[in-house]
């Protein structure tokens, strides 16, 4: 058993009477990429701020690289990308990066290389005040890559990035994960993190409502499968008789069935032979699965 890079047990955070996080437990192993999903206000940012030691927990235990969150040991090994990363507008990208490198006791000479890595090399000597939102996000990303962090905490890292940059970004993360960096990133789109993370954690109203790989969550949600059957000319009424529960939408029969009955239903449709022109099976979408979990708990 490896030691976890991040270990959270029974974490609760209250702001006055409002519980932002309730009894959340989570562990992340070295090299593991975990996506934290939830609506606005689900508790994602609060959880990250507690992990970073920016705000104290009300109760529960958090251990970052074997140390207290926010301690010197933890901060030396954790890198953070805030949501809407902001920097002083009067500094150039290069100057800002050199500053961050110095604070981490790294060679400031790496600044240009880090900016090249996130595609900002050409704008390195321009003031950050002239940057677009996407460019500022890349400065944020570049500073998170300084040194060899053991834990990367990324708050909506891909907001403001175009699809190509997004792919490059995930490729960068893969390199870090391969070297043993644990990654916790938040997002509110399941589609975006689908193939890029090892595990998905869904927060809703401060509760951890689901956790697992995407296939595991799919099984757990057990959402109905939709089937669209197109009838050969004139056979639609016959199919309607054979398939009770179907509704006719623009010449095609739409129906849904639980996962467990999917194969039996497919068998019956196959048995209808020539009357069927086409058959489409639509598994629940990622958005459906996400909505299923994030609504389950009192939202």
């Amino acid at each position: 058993m490896m030691t976890s890079t991040l270990k959270i047990s029974a974490l609760t955070k209250r702001f006055g009477d409002v519980a932002a996080l309730s009894d959340v437990s989570l562990a992340i192993q070295p090299g593991e990429r975990v996506a934290l999903l939830g609506h606005n206000g689900a508790g994602k940012s609060t959880m990250m701020k507690i992990i970073l030691g920016l705000i104290p927990a009300t109760s529960g235990r958090v251990e970052v690289c074997g140390a207290m969150p926010g301690s010197a040991t933890a901060r030396a090994q954790v890198a953070y990308l805030p949501e809407n990363a902001a920097f002083h507008p009067a500094l150039t990208g290069l100057e800002q990066l050199r500053h961050y490198l110095s604070l981490r006791s790294e060679d400031p000479g790496q600044a240009q290389q880090l900016l090249d890595q996130v595609g900002l090399g050409a704008a390195a000597r321009r003031r950050i005040g002239t940057y677009s939102k996407g460019m500022r996000q890349r400065v944020g990303l570049a500073q998170a890559l300084i040194g060899a962090p053991r834990l990367l905490v990324l708050d909506e890292p891909t907001s403001g990035l175009d699809p190509v940059s997004r792919r490059d970004f995930y490729a960068l993360l893969d390199q870090f994960a391969a070297r043993g960096t644990a990654i916790l990133l938040s997002s509110h789109a399941l589609t975006e993190v689908e193939a890029r993370t090892d595990r998905i954690v869904i927060l809703s109203g401060g509760h951890l409502v689901a956790e697992g790989s995407l296939p595991a969550l799919r099984r757990l949600a057990d959402l109905p499968v939709a089937l669209h059957v197109t009838a050969r000319n004139g056979y639609a009424p016959a199919l309607m008789d054979a398939l009770p529960g179907a509704i006719l939408v623009g010449g095609a029969l739409h129906m849904a069935c639980p996962q467990s009955e999917k194969l039996a239903l497919l068998g019956r449709i196959a048995g209808l032979g020539d009357k069927v022109a086409d058959l489409e099976v639509l598994p629940p979408s990622l958005e459906d699965i996400y909505s299923h979990f994030s609504r389950r708990d009192g939202q």
Partner: protein, 276 residues
């Protein structure tokens, strides 16, 4: 725990920001301009007092510094924490392996450097004018040196106070209001209040016992006392400065040296309570 490397890195970045925001040039021009005006206006009373020209200039500069140094310090510091909170740059920096004390000391170092350049320019211009017109002015060099370093101590006090207010206010507009209030209170109204009390008291307990303590308790008054009682040109000073004769030099020296430490401790205590 406190590492010079991280303090210097913060100081270098802060100084660069101050330069980009024209703070360095504005502060230097302001001090030089006021010093020149003082030199031109104060050219009359020399000779008759039996002191050199530079010592007289130092006495005038002391009165100038009491107003301008705190003002410059507060103008540079009110935004230091509140501005970072508003821009959203504070959370990220606080996740770095740098302590809040190191951040404060880095900012202090940069702002003190700006202040040092400003008073250096102002006092330099005035001293040069004095030396050019009176060869005997070299006798006043120790007084000028004392004024220079005590101005930085006064600046550090008000920088610390500015950081504390900036941490308490959280918003730059609120911090600016508090800073102006502090300046008016300590530098302007405090003395007026004391003078009114002395006049009303008519030589009683307040004038003999409370008044000296009240002067030493205010960093701006202590700065003025220290420079005037150490200077040969006390007679050239007026107003509260007249009290310089009765308060021992070591007491004002202690006040000048202790206040920066107190202000920085307050700033650290206030900054520690800021939750990003």
């Amino acid at each position: 725990m406190i590492t010079p490397r991280r303090i210097l890195a913060t100081a270098a970045t802060e100084f660069r920001i101050a330069r980009r925001n024209r703070w360095v040039i504005i502060a230097m021009a302001l001090m030089a301009l006021f010093a020149l005006v003082l030199t031109a206006a104060g050219s009359a009373p020399t000779g008759g007092l039996g002191v050199d020209r530079l010592s007289v200039t130092v006495a005038s500069l002391t009165s100038l510094a009491v107003y301008l140094v705190p003002l410059l310090a507060l103008l540079m510091s009110f935004d230091a924490i509140a501005g970072e909170v508003e821009r959203g740059t504070l959370p990220l920096v606080l996740t770095y392996p740098v302590s809040r004390a190191e951040i404060l000391l880095g900012k202090l170092l940069a702002h003190l450097a700006v202040l040092g350049l400003a008073v250096g320019a102002g006092y330099g211009v005035a001293a040069l004018a004095a030396l050019l017109t009176d060869a005997g002015s070299l006798a006043g060099m120790p007084a000028l040196w004392r004024l220079l370093w005590s101005s930085l101590a006064l600046g550090a006090t008000f920088l610390g106070a500015g950081y504390a207010l900036s941490s308490l206010a959280r918003r730059p507009s609120g911090a600016a209001g508090l800073a102006i209030g502090l300046w008016l209170g300590l530098v302007v109204l405090y003395d007026l209040g004391l003078l009114a009390a002395v006049v009303a008291d008519n030589g009683g307990w307040f004038t003999t016992s409370a008044f000296p303590v009240a002067l030493l308790a205010n960093p701006a008054d202590a700065f003025r006392l220290f420079n005037l009682s150490a200077s040969a040109a006390t007679a050239a000073a007026s107003g509260v400065g007249g009290a310089a004769a009765v308060i021992p030099l070591w007491q004002s020296l202690v006040s000048v040296l202790v206040w920066p430490l107190v202000a920085l401790a307050l700033a650290h205590a206030a900054f520690r309570r800021v939750i990003p």
